[in-house]
Amino acid sequence: MDHISQVLWQFLVKWLTDFSLFPPEASKIAPQMDALFFFMVLISLIGMTVVVLLIVGFSILYGKKRHPVAVQIEGSTLLEATWTIIPLGLFLVIFVWGSLIYFRVYTPPANAMNIYVVGKQWMWKAEHPGGQHEINSLHIPIGRPIQLTLISQDVFHSFSIPAFRVKREAIPGRYTNVWFEATQTGTYHLFCTQYCGTNHSAMIGDIVVLSPDDYRKWLSESTSGMSLAQNGERLFASLSCNACHTGRAGSRGPNLAGIFGSEIHLANGSTAQVNEAYLRDAILNPSEHVAQGYVPIMPTYQGQVSEDGVISLVEYIKSLNSNDRVEQTLNTTTLLPESEGKATTDGQKPGGANPAKQAPASQGMVKQ
């Protein structure tokens, strides 16, 4: 008996100390989503109450003892119409409300800071523009819109942050996006919610929301020495991309300066918005994305560049905001990659080590 009561006692203590009924609301979207959630809870409670009242009430009123002979009733068009139209109306309200939130969650604002997340069996790898990498955790500043660009290297994964009420699948072969703006510092759960194989339940991590100062500190402490764009620049040169994309008139490949965020005309007559997904696709399947006036001579880099490499290339192309920048790449290709001093970008963003300086450049591009 003693033994059992001890177990029970432990359980009770645990229950009281480590028990939650509602997740924290730690992002801007969370209260909005919870408002709809509680609206639906309210509707459900009312609906349930009505149904239960009807069943219980009729059961008491018309039990066989009290009401021995049933009265046959065919139906009532008015009642039928009532319980068709009222639920329909409520559902339509919920539909509109829900869709507004959905579009908000999946339409990142232009000034969002972009972080890449690569999912693979069974870990999450986050790549910050400044070159910081982290596994199964994500450090973000409070009060700034963060856009995640997700991709998977193998199977479907799903990046879920319950405290932020956001979730997006990372699927192989294509970028997906989600954004959020944290409103409370702290550490929150990160889950993979799409079943992805044996260690699915180990594909979890922490979302660490930091104050701006702490975030700056974290950025400088965890730098890998090279920003994504710098990494991409090396790759750009080593893959000889700059042999064609010279940025000069008459070159074999289109000029990449300022291309990000613009709308370009393709050889097949369509137009395309240049975003991360487009750039990724154009690197891996170039023949489907030939710019107008160019011939499809670009080889595919599928199988030659890893997803991390593609991300670096995309970040590099994003950072190209002027022709000077392209020319510089050409001149420095033979140099060692650690030529950080050449970065001409403006250091809008306060503090941080050199690599982090690339990030503001890319944001400037997004605004265009």
Partner: protein
């Protein structure tokens, strides 16, 4: 007999089971295995489905036991994955889809419409054999290493990243799909072609209507699942590249094709259950179903709309934002016919003369749980909240409320309701009422905490979870234990009643359906002569007149 029951049994001292009935007509195993009689095939189905339900239920027990603690200590993660995959596959394809249509539907369809058998008895038997073959293949794959893809077979996980028995299981489901197609096809033909004279469409019992609607879904939806699984098997075995992103294929296409069937499939599961509820509620409140035509057409409306909503399983998978608008809206629309049904059943009680036998208790359970399940479905149909709630325990709780709370309650309700017709003997009333109560309590304790877990963000299919979720999981496991008892009881006392149950007589419930106007258990040919139907469905006054005539003549 007290006044609070409608049960009217023959005098037990003199009553005997009819000497000649479909069970005693022929003897020997072969006479069962080669039978064309829909009632015998239904019995075969009932036995095999109960068998697979027991296996699926045992696996569910293992899942709940594993989740008692946050660590994956009872099983390793890969074992856990195999267990929940098998639980899903067995429960969905071998229990929920065939459960009511293949057992109660098979048994009752010809009886209710006044026919001697289904239109295609041999196809009916073939469909059972296909079911058994599929079941054996699944058991085989389970015993030779199992499969760990989940019942959804998500590509590219199932095609490239697991090394378990995906092909065997996929083909097994393909075969089970054919079994389901043949059952549905048989029902549609039977309902169109075999109705007794005078049995017009609007005199059909609502059970027939809802099975008709479910059959349409089976016939039109299942082949898409079949081709999807064929493509998965081809992808896995030969690498044809259609679903392989590395070759330019599209894994999202798999999701489209898979859910094109698998969403309507949930209506295949629930519609026949709704039919049972209509019959039971009407009988135990001695009243015609309120708004018969509305209930009948809402079944058909569900069947039609069921095909327009599948993308709501993919809202967070990177599908076009604009198409989610279409699918979310259509999903809202499909919720309306279900709401209509619930209110119509509630109002059937109005001014009725209600008694509370076991089938009625299960039906009340169905209405409560299905309403909860249905309303939480709206949380998931609304795209905004779907983002947070999908792929968590919220969705697990939602579909268990609909499938287990709804369908399984309806199945048990139906089994109890037609048990006297099927076997000629009554089940023990008191203990079965207790079992209904236990099931209801156990069910709520098991699955209600999972809504909260889902809102907290606990992902589904996790062998291990963060410790703050433990309390609710302990509740859930405790509930599952009670639920297990709730399911074990009927199996025991129904088996007991086969020998010791009271003799039921032709019509213990004083019900109006054609099936109640013949002996129980019925003759092999059902009706000694083809009945001529001259009364509306659920016409209790007709029944009284008829009984008066009988007593007068007698």
């Amino acid at each position: 007999m007290s006044t609070d029951t409608i049960v009217r049994l023959p005098d037990q001292s003199t009553a005997r089971l009819p000497k000649v009935n479909f069970i005693t007509k022929e003897n020997g195993l072969l006479s069962w295995l080669l039978t064309g009689d829909h009632k015998r095939i239904a019995t075969l189905y009932l036995i095999s489905i109960t068998f697979f339900f027991a296996i699926g239920g045992a696996l569910a027990g293992l899942i709940r036991l594993e989740l008692l603690t946050p660590q994956s200590d009872l099983m390793a993660a890969d074992t856990y994955n195999k267990v929940f995959s098998m639980h899903g596959i067995i429960m969905v394809f071998l229990f929920l889809v065939p459960s009511i249509p293949a057992t109660l539907g098979n048994f009752l369809m010809p009886l209710m419409i006044g026919a001697k058998d289904l239109a295609l008895p041999k196809i009916n038997l073939l469909s059972w054999y296909l079911y058994v073959i599929a079941g054996c293949m699944i058991l085989y794959s389970m015993m030779t290493g199992g499969v760990d893809t989940g019942w959804t077979f998500t590509v590219p996980l199932s095609t490239h990243y697991v090394n378990t028995n995906v092909i065997t299981t996929g083909l097994a489901i393909f075969v089970a799909g054919f079994s389901s197609v043949f059952t549905g096809l048989n029902f549609i033909v039977t309902i169109h072609k075999m109705r007794a004279p005078g049995m017009t469409w609007f005199r059909l019992p609502l059970f027939v209507w809802s099975n008709y609607a479910a059959s349409i879904l089976m016939v039109l939806g299942t082949p898409v699942l079949a081709i999807t699984l064929v493509l998965v098997v081809l992808e896995r075995a030969f690498g044809i590249g259609v679903f392989d992103p590395a070759k330019g294929g599209d894994p999202i296409l798999f999701q489209h094709l898979f859910w094109f069937y698998s969403h309507p499939a949930v209506y295949i599961m629930i519609l026949p259950g709704m039919g049972v509820i209509s019959e039971v509620i009407s009988t135990f409140s001695r009243k015609r179903v309120f708004g018969y035509t509305a209930v009948a057409f809402s079944s058909v409306a569900i069947a039609v709309f069921a095909f327009f909503v599948w993308e709501h399983h993919m809202f967070i998978m990177g599908v076009s934002n604009y198409s989610t608008l279409v699918f979310s809206l259509l999903t809202m629309l499909v919720a309306v016919p279900s709401a209509i049904k619930i209110f119509n059943w509630s109002f059937t009680l109005y001014k009725g003369s209600i008694t509370f036998e076991t089938p009625m208790l299960y039906s009340f359970g169905f209405m409560g749980l299905f309403t909860t399940g249905g309303l939480t479905g709206v949380f998931l149909a609304s795209t905004g909240t779907d983002i947070h709630l999908t792929e968590t325990y919220f969705i697990v709780a939602h579909f268990h409320f609909v499938m287990v709370g709804g369908m399984l309650m309806a199945f048990l309700s139906g089994i109890h309701f037609w048990w006297p017709k099927w076997t000629g003997r009554m089940y023990p009333e008191k203990i079965s009422q207790l079992a209904a109560l236990i099931t209801f309590i156990g069910f709520n304790l098991t699955f209600f905490p999972q809504f909260i877990l889902g809102m907290l963000g606990m992902p589904r299919r996790y062998a291990a979870y963060p410790p703050e979720f433990q309390v609710l999981n302990v509740f859930s496991t405790a509930g599952a234990t009670i639920l297990g008892i709730g399911y074990l009881l009927p199996i025991l006392y129904l088996t007991w009643s086969l020998k010791y149950g009271e003799i039921a007589g032709d019509n213990p419930w004083q019900a109006t359906g054609l099936e109640w106007q013949i002996q129980s258990p019925p003759l092999t040919e059902n009706f000694p002569e083809i009945p001529i139907v001259d009364y509306e469905a659920y016409d209790y006054e007709w029944l009284e007149r008829k009984e008066k005539e009988v007593t007068r003549v007698g």
